[in-house]
Amino acid sequence: MPARASLWSTLTDPLVHQNPVTLQILGICSALAVTTSVATALTMSAALTAVLVMSAGLISLIRHHIPGSIRLIVQIVIVASLVIVIDQILQAYLFEISQKLSVFVSLITTNCLVLGRTESFSRHNPPGRSMVDALGNGLGYSLVLVVIGSVRELFGAGSLLGLQVFQTVDQGGWFTPLSLMLLAPSAFFLLGGLVWILRTLLPDQTETLELLSPDKPEDLS
């Protein structure tokens, strides 16, 4: 069943091998900003995956009717409308988390991941396949977010999803929270480290030197 196998690989490839965040450099902006705790990371992942899947489906449905010259505007308007819906839902049912996410839910509109996938995949593929691809990319994004979110919450506050895992010092325990983990720089370091680990395990993801810097002399490699 080749069709089924390719559909399956469309779903699973973006999880690790073609991960949107660590390999394709898409959607990094939000990936770092919302990962101070697992709860916000999960909410953001769910919101982004929902927008991604729906916009991929919609854009793929009308892909033959969008004139090439204005396709970006059409895509942005579709994505922005979906984001408004999600934002209103979050404000209605998860008010506290939506306050914490502040503008980042709205910023899904300009998340490179959404436009990147609709631009490169949904425009050329039927709705079913596009939605599977979008789901795969959404899950790959979520995976990175949850991993970084867990590390930051665990070491920054000693908790996971709000449950205390390590007893912190001011509660009479042994664990001194590393407050650096909750600040901006650690997010960069963690993502850099994650990329390092991934590319050590999967050497084929290592960037070629041409991609890195065209004017670099060859013999330095």
């Binding site: 898409l26 922005a80 709205s106 300009t110 490179c112 720089p185 990329v195 991609l211």
Partner: protein
């Protein structure tokens, strides 16, 4: 006056878009390979943010904010949920307009950073500038200063990162860390440096 200065400084350094708020990282990482393209991107961001943030402030306060239609006898009309679409439309139009004006009157400038302009439509930092403007309810002058400040902050940090990465070409980076990985670590260290600014506009 000192208010405006502090808005500018805090937008440019304390709340630096890429390094402390993680906004606009995609272009920040992708276009900082060379100092030249980083400078072009920086100028384009300053120009677009300096124009769109005050423009969006006008549109928001005149048409979309709650009570904006009170003069027409429609005090309950609250169109603020439309701000996202309105802002992105304004940004896309401004970028397009800027591109055409530059192409027509300043071909030299256009060719030097023309390729970055279309990208700015989907730049998180620019949209975020307008959204923050609403969240903090800036006036027109304040939002112009805020837009310029944020743009300047972005430009400064992208040029700095570009310069560091250009030097990196002569160092021996571990294979798995090449490109994306080392750029993140560099950005992390720069962000550590920028967090020292946090105390600057504390008052």
């Amino acid at each position: 006056m000192s208010d405006l200065v502090s808005i500018f400084l805090s937008a440019a350094f304390v709340e630096n878009m890429p390094l402390t708020l993680f906004l606009g990282l995609c272009t920040f990482i992708a276009l900082s390979r060379k100092t030249g393209s980083a400078v072009g991107l920086g100028i384009a961001v300053v120009a677009v943010m300096g124009v769109t943030v005050p423009l969006n402030q006008l549109i928001y306060s005149a048409l979309l904010a709650p009570w904006a239609w009170a003069w027409a006898g429609l005090p309950e009309t609250d169109l603020s949920y439309l701000k996202l679409i309105a802002f992105i439309g304004v940004i896309a139009a401004t970028v397009q307009l800027l591109e055409m004006v530059l192409d027509r009157f300043f071909p030299a400038i256009y060719s030097s950073f023309g390729v970055f302009l279309p990208l700015l439509t989907v730049q998180c930092a620019i949209l975020a500038g307008s959204l923050f403007m609403v969240e903090r309810s800036f006036t027109l002058v304040e939002s112009a200063v805020f837009g310029l400040g944020s743009g300047t902050g972005f430009a400064t940090s992208v040029v700095m990162l570009g310069a560091i990465r250009a030097r990196l070409a002569y160092s021996h980076v571990p294979e798995a860390l090449r490109g994306l990985g080392i750029t993140f670590l560099l950005a992390g260290m720069m962000s550590l440096g920028f967090s020292a600014f946090a105390q600057m506009v504390a008052s």
